[in-house]
């Protein structure tokens, strides 16, 4: 690099002084380390303390002297100087000509951000993207076809026939083809129920994200989110959570403050259903539009309420919002498919072993009587929120995975064991119910043991309390859905 001259100001001479005192190897130039010190970078300050302990106090003296010599923060002054250099280069190397037809994109972009037009657009996107495409097409048409047209008609009878021939022992056979068998339950849930739902969701989501709509949605919802202690930035992990909460919990890293990350993690664990769960719930409440609205209303209320309360309880300053808004683009089909494919693959690799493992656990549990004991234990809170005993099994599934639990409800509904009210209460409680094992592990990884366990305990009690309240409200006001 060229020699730079700072000699005639305090900042320049401070740079020189500090650079001379830095002795260790930092991987980047001493000038840069000095610059970061002057800008008050805590991480670098501790690094210098560690690597240059003899000179540390003198270095900090020089830093503080420079700081005290200016009215503005040094980070501001350095940034201005840097921008000046950048502008100098740009003047020499860049030219602006007339632009060619990009303004219509700007117009669409504005329409998406303006609340007056933006909220209807958001509702349209949700209705067609999620409700129609994922709910009706994925969870309705496709699930029906694979479940009834393929599994119940051909695969299940065939598999049962084969296993009767090769495994003569009833007990061992039930591991594969029993009520909770690996093939009749585990593989069927994964392939017939979850696969079509998740695939349609990931397609819809890939189109939405590649178009550049999400950051605009973030701007649109920023004001509401600020009220619950989150910035518009948090919209992205939340919307991503509708795909997979585990993935979304990882993305909370993009939030700038610890407090925001914690609030977002709580909301993801509690009130954001993942795509598989969402799909199954949409198909459960199919033909019961009032029930669906109650479900949407309660979940939204819980989301806003818990966000609001936790932002009041958790200490820390409110969030600030800045975000790069990328241009609107027409999604590239190949990228949409590639992305859907990698996500579905990732999802499948993650869930299939879990589903099979659950079947094995239940099988062992049934043999030893633990399964019946646990279901019996769970029937107490289940009865408390007014649901039939059989639902306990679905909630037991819910301990492993959200979608698995919702799948359990699907079977109970098919057996005709739910009244309209019970179905809605079950859906609400199960949506709020515990995060799946993978998400729990992610919570531990991202937020630590104590927070993760704390969140789970809170969610467990909170979900049943809400279920109880909703049931109570139904009974008191004589509502029948």
């Amino acid at each position: 690099m060229s020699e730079q001259k700072y000699a005639d100001d305090v900042l320049g001479s401070s740079f020189k002084k500090i650079e001379l005192m830095l002795q260790a190897d930092y991987g980047i130039s001493k000038h840069s380390i000095g610059s970061l010190l002057l800008q008050g970078d805590d991480e670098i300050i501790s690094l210098v303390k560690l690597k240059d302990p003899e000179n540390f106090s003198k270095i900090m003296e020089a830093v503080n002297f420079a700081k005290s010599s200016y009215n503005d923060p040094l980070s501001y002054i350095i940034a201005i100087q840097n921008q000046g250099k950048a502008n100098y280069i740009i003047e020499r190397a860049m030219e602006y000509g007339p632009s060619k037809g990009i303004s219509y994109r700007e117009k669409i972009s504005k329409v998406m951000i303006d609340p007056l037009t933006g909220i209807p657009i958001m509702l349209l996107v949700l209705y067609y993207g999620i409700y129609k495409f994922v709910g009706d097409f994925g969870a309705g048409v496709l699930v029906n076809f694979i479940e009834n047209g393929i599994f119940i008609k051909y695969i299940n009878p065939l598999v049962i026939k084969i296993f009767i021939k090769i495994i003569p022992w009833e007990v061992l056979r039930s591991l594969f083809t029993g009520e909770y068998g690996i093939i009749t339950l585990g593989v069927r849930y994964a392939v017939a129920l979850i696969f079509p739902i998740v695939t349609t969701f990931f397609i819809a989501f890939a189109v939405i994200e590649d178009s550049g709509y999400l950051p605009r949605l973030a701007l649109l919802i920023d004001r509401l989110f600020k009220k619950i202690g989150l910035s518009g930035r948090a919209v992205i992990p939340m919307v991503l959570g509708l795909g997979c909460d585990t993935m979304a919990t990882m993305v909370t890293r993009t939030l700038p403050t610890k407090r925001e990350r914690l609030i977002a993690t709580i909301l993801l664990a509690l009130a954001v259903p993942c795509s598989a769960q969402l799909g199954v719930i949409l198909s459960l409440l199919e033909g019961n539009p009032k029930g669906l609205w109650v479900w949407v209303g309660v979940i939204t209320l819980v989301f806003v309420f818990v966000g609001f309360v936790s932002s009041k309880i958790l200490p820390g300053e409110g969030p600030s919002f800045y975000m790069e808004v990328p241009p609107l683009r027409l999604p590239k089909l190949s990228n949409v498919f590639l992305k859907t494919w990698t996500r579905v693959k990732w999802y499948f690799i993650e869930i299939l072993p879990v589903f099979i493992l659950v079947s094995v656990f239940i099988w062992i549990g049934q043999l030893t009587g633990i399964f019946n004991f646990l279901t019996m234990l769970l029937t107490y809170p289940i009865r408390w929120i007014g649901l039939p005993d059989k639902t306990a099994v679905a909630f037991l599934f819910g301990f492993f995975r959200r979608d698995y639990g919702a799948g359990g409800l699907y079977d109970i509904k098919k057996a005709g064991l739910f009244t309209g009210n019970q179905l809605v209460v079950a859906c609400i409680t199960l949506t709020l119910f515990l995060p799946c094992v993978a998400q729990f592990l992610m919570n531990i990884k991202e937020r630590g043991w104590r927070a993760a366990v704390g969140i789970s305990v809170f969610v467990l009690f909170f979900s049943f309390s809400v279920g109880y309240l909703v049931n109570l409200a139904f009974n008191t006001f004589g509502i029948n859905l």
């Binding site: 690099m1 060229s2 930092y26 991987g27 980047i28 130039s29 000038h31 840069s32 610059s35 970061l36 800008q39 970078d41 991480e43 980070s75 940034a79 840097n82 921008q83 250099k85 950048a86 502008n87 100098y88 280069i89 740009i90 020499r92 190397a93 860049m94 030219e95 602006y96 000509g97 007339p98 632009s99 060619k100 037809g101 990009i102 994200e209 590649d210 178009s211 550049g212 999400l214 950051p215 930035r233 992205i236 990882m250 993305v251 890293r253 993009t254 939030l255 700038p256 975000m323 790069e324 990328p326 241009p327 683009r329 999604p331 590239k332 990228n335 590639l338 992305k339 990698t342 996500r343």
Partner: protein
């Protein structure tokens, strides 16, 4: 295994670096193939400028690409071949400057500080050069081996922005390449510059 082979290559004085096509560079490469093993190339830049796309183009691997900032929160690593030698390419989370604000930016900076990359590809959005160039200057000032990648050139051109690459190179004194990574345009030129850079850097 790879490290071991390289060690053996260093210890055998007459055997030229087997993976090196240019025999005259063999000696330099041997010298450079340090005990740390594979050399690294870091891809850095602000969120949503096409770092992951560039990474995908260079490695042929797949990192998830989205049209919103902050998609890459984990560090992706892939391999690419330059001058017949294998290099590790690191796709980093987005960062706006050397002063980190969020967790992901910290992760990205630590890669620059600790992994001693042989090349740092600074990918920028050519439409927003005013905002992105200060970070380029910071990286150069930090003594890092920067190549500036002006990405999303197609949209910049549509906006009527013309960038004189030669003048840019002259001012910055680092290689500058224009690309449209979403369509794979300019990647071959970038690779060429990277190969040239590696050669001159190792052999002086």
């Amino acid at each position: 295994m790879n490290i071991l082979e390289k060690l053996i290559n260093i210890l055998k004085p007459d055997k030229a670096c087997s993976s090196c096509p240019q025999a005259k560079f063999g000696a330099c490469q041997k010298l450079a193939a340090s005990l740390e093993g594979i050399k690294k190339i870091a891809v850095v830049g602000s969120p949503n400028v096409g770092k992951s796309m560039t990474f995908n183009c260079l490695t042929g691997a797949y990192a998830n690409v989205s049209n919103y900032p902050g998609t890459t929160v984990e560090v992706f690593r892939g391999k690419t071949i330059l001058n017949g030698e294998e290099f590790e390419i690191i796709d980093t989370p987005g960062m706006y400057s050397l002063m980190p604000i969020s967790e992901e930016e910290r992760v990205a900076r630590n890669i620059l500080l600790n992994e001693k990359p042989i090349i740092v590809l600074h990918v920028v959005d050519a439409k927003n050069l005013e905002r992105m160039l200060p970070f380029t200057l910071q990286l150069i000032e930090a003594g890092l081996p920067v190549i500036l990648v002006l990405n999303i050139m197609d949209e910049a051109e549509r906006l009527g922005i013309k960038i004189n690459i030669e003048a840019m190179q002259h001012e910055l004194k680092v290689p500058v390449v224009a690309t449209v990574s979403a369509r794979g345009e300019g990647i071959d030129i970038l690779k060429g510059k990277m190969e040239e850079y590696v050669r001159t850097k190792i052999c002086g």
